[in-house]
């Protein structure tokens, strides 16, 4: 059914967007190659289940492999910062696609087809994605309020000051990268078993930019803003043909417009609206 597939797409997109929000939103480490980890998760799960592995084992496996690579890339964030990190992570994305294209066991240009169905039916699969998305939302909200969330926030605001205050910057950055990339891997595995076919184009630079757009439009670091933006932006191309045809134009204009007019995204717009409604002059 059409509505079921819309909801499924929405749910794994929310997971994917929140996974980037952990790294870029909470911890302030900009990543322009996040689709690589989505891809690593998707390819890991696809290889595992086409080889006869169980779907239920494929999910944690995809998370572990993506998280492992995220851990390695996290080290890059310890060495380079800001603009340098943006370009480095963009490079990670290109390395991933460049590597996959040349590997026969990953299907090269053709990709991997015939990924087996999880065998639980369409509606339960949607529910599974929804439960996992809810869990990731809860996890994000929990992290944001935890001690770790405050440490992330300090690093995002001013890394040097955070270090002076005795926050173990390296440990928290690596943690953010591992959590974020492992969740991207989970989203990738869910995506692979939804479309039953993975090819390298699904994880290229444009995909990294699309997920970044979800985080930016939602409001960097805001959990609910990102959920709304991801849910909305992921199903728009399926609902409106115009949006599908000119998807990149919309994304491009949206990214620019948000940065130009409302760098806080949906989150700050909603807060502004709420303040106006409730009549308070300043936020508490």
């Amino acid at each position: 059914m059409y509505e079921i597939s819309l909801l499924t797409v929405m749910c794994f997109s929310v997971i994917f967007a929140l996974s980037l929000n952990l790294i870029t939103g909470f911890c302030g480490q900009i990543s322009l190659g996040h689709a690589a980890f989505y891809g690593i998760g998707a390819y890991t799960a696809a290889l595992f289940t086409t080889d006869g592995g169980s779907f239920w084992l494929a999910l944690p496996l995809a998370m572990a492999v993506a998280g492992f690579f995220g851990f390695i890339v996290g080290f890059a964030s310890l060495r380079v910062r800001h603009d340098f990190l943006a370009i480095t992570t963009m490079g990670v994305g290109f390395l991933f696609t460049g590597f996959v294209r040349q590997q026969e066991f990953l299907g090269g240009e053709e990709g991997i087809a015939g990924i087996p169905d999880p065998g639980i039916g369409q509606i339960p699969y949607m529910l599974l994605c929804a439960v996992l998305a809810a869990a990731v939302i809860a996890f994000s909200l929990y992290v944001k309020r935890s001690w770790m969330g405050h440490a992330f926030d300090a690093i995002a605001t001013d890394e040097d000051t955070a270090r002076t205050l005795g926050i173990d910057v390296a440990r928290y950055k690596l943690t953010a990268f591992v959590f974020g990339t492992a969740l991207a891997g989970l989203a990738g595995a869910l995506f692979a078993h939804y479309v039953k076919f993975v090819e390298v184009e699904s994880f290229d630079f444009i995909e990294s930019i699309s997920v970044l757009a979800m985080v930016i439009v939602g409001g960097i670091g805001s959990v609910w803003g990102v959920v709304v933006a991801a849910a909305f932006l992921s199903v728009m191309p399926l609902l409106l043909q115009v949006f599908a045809d000119f998807k990149l134009l919309f994304y491009g204009v949206l990214l620019f417009a948000v940065m130009y007019f409302a760098p806080g995204g949906i989150d700050s717009l909603m807060r502004m609206l709420w303040r106006r409604i409730s009549g308070r002059r300043t936020a508490g």
Partner: protein, 286 residues
């Protein structure tokens, strides 16, 4: 293919990268903006140059008109899109620039179509022999252009009043302004030069491939980003060396690394390897 062929091919590629990357590094040096949309301007140069050549029949005339026109376009681009963002945190301009680039590629697709356009009569296609290596004329023109344009730029920066104003602004904008330098003018000229160089590179790439497509800016431009990071963001000399080095490494890499990585990923493998050892780039001043 023997070594000298590979080396020469690599240097020619490196000259193209240099033409693109020098503009990027100029913008970064002055404004601390990673100007991703530079790639869109590169593609614009390719389209305008190709269409004008087909229209007028003269490649040389089309080249000059395009380079100047796209230079002015770059100035307008800065005024409209970047100037209002200068006071915001750095990631704002970066993300806005990504958005602009993605939107530009899409606009080219809508305006010029998704299929490639070619020259009606491709110019500079004869091969000549230089020092034992057979080369297309177009490739020789690329090298001459790179030397003349970037050399001219060095003279401009070193010897003229505007060049001195430019260097003063790069090292300390507030101080330069207090000495009476018109910052807005320096920034306009900066964007004019950067965009004109990108347009020149765009036309030459269009000529060498004999085709223009909406997404052609992507790969060379991402590589240009890798190059300016390698060169130590904002450092023109470092950028030039990194551009030529990458051209040569890629040229040899396609022969020896092809089983592991495709050509376009080599730049980033190189970049990541270097950054892990020297996080400030190969030739940073600090």
């Amino acid at each position: 293919m023997n070594y000298s062929d590979l080396l020469v091919q690599g240097l020619v590629e490196g000259c193209i990268y240099a033409l693109i990357a020098v503009g990027l590094t100029l913008v970064y040096g002055l404004l601390r903006i990673l100007h991703i949309a530079h790639a869109g301007i590169f593609t614009l140069g390719a389209y305008v140059g190709l269409l004008l050549t087909n229209e007028t029949g003269s490649f040389a005339a089309a080249f000059v008109i395009t380079v100047v026109a796209v230079g002015f376009f770059g100035m307008a681009f800065y005024r409209l899109f970047y100037e209002p963002l200068l006071d915001k945190p750095p990631h704002v301009a970066l993300i806005a620039s990504i958005g602009l680039f993605v939107a530009m590629e899409e606009i080219y697709r809508i305006v010029f179509g998704a299929t490639s356009i070619s020259f009606l009569a491709p110019p500079l296609k004869e091969t000549v022999e230089v020092a034992g290596v057979r080369l297309e004329e177009g490739r020789i023109v690329v090298v001459i252009l790179a030397v003349v344009l970037i050399g001219g730029l060095a003279v401009l920066a070193g010897r003229t009043r505007i060049g001195i104003a430019w260097r003063a602004t790069v090292s300390d904008a507030a101080m330069a302004e207090s000495f009476g330098i018109d910052l807005a003018r320096v920034r306009y000229i900066n964007f004019f030069v950067a965009s004109a160089l990108a347009a020149a590179a765009g036309i030459m790439v269009a000529l060498l491939l004999n085709q223009v497509i909406p997404t052609m800016g992507g790969v060379p431009a991402y590589k240009a980003l890798a190059i300016i990071v390698l060169g130590g963001l904002g450092n023109v000399k470092g950028t030039l060396i990194a551009a030529l080095a990458l051209g040569v490494i890629e040229s040899f890499g396609t022969i020896y690394l092809d089983d592991v990585l495709d050509r376009d990923a080599i730049a980033f493998a190189f970049l990541i390897a270097v950054l892990m050892i020297r996080p400030q780039g190969l030739f940073s001043r600090r």
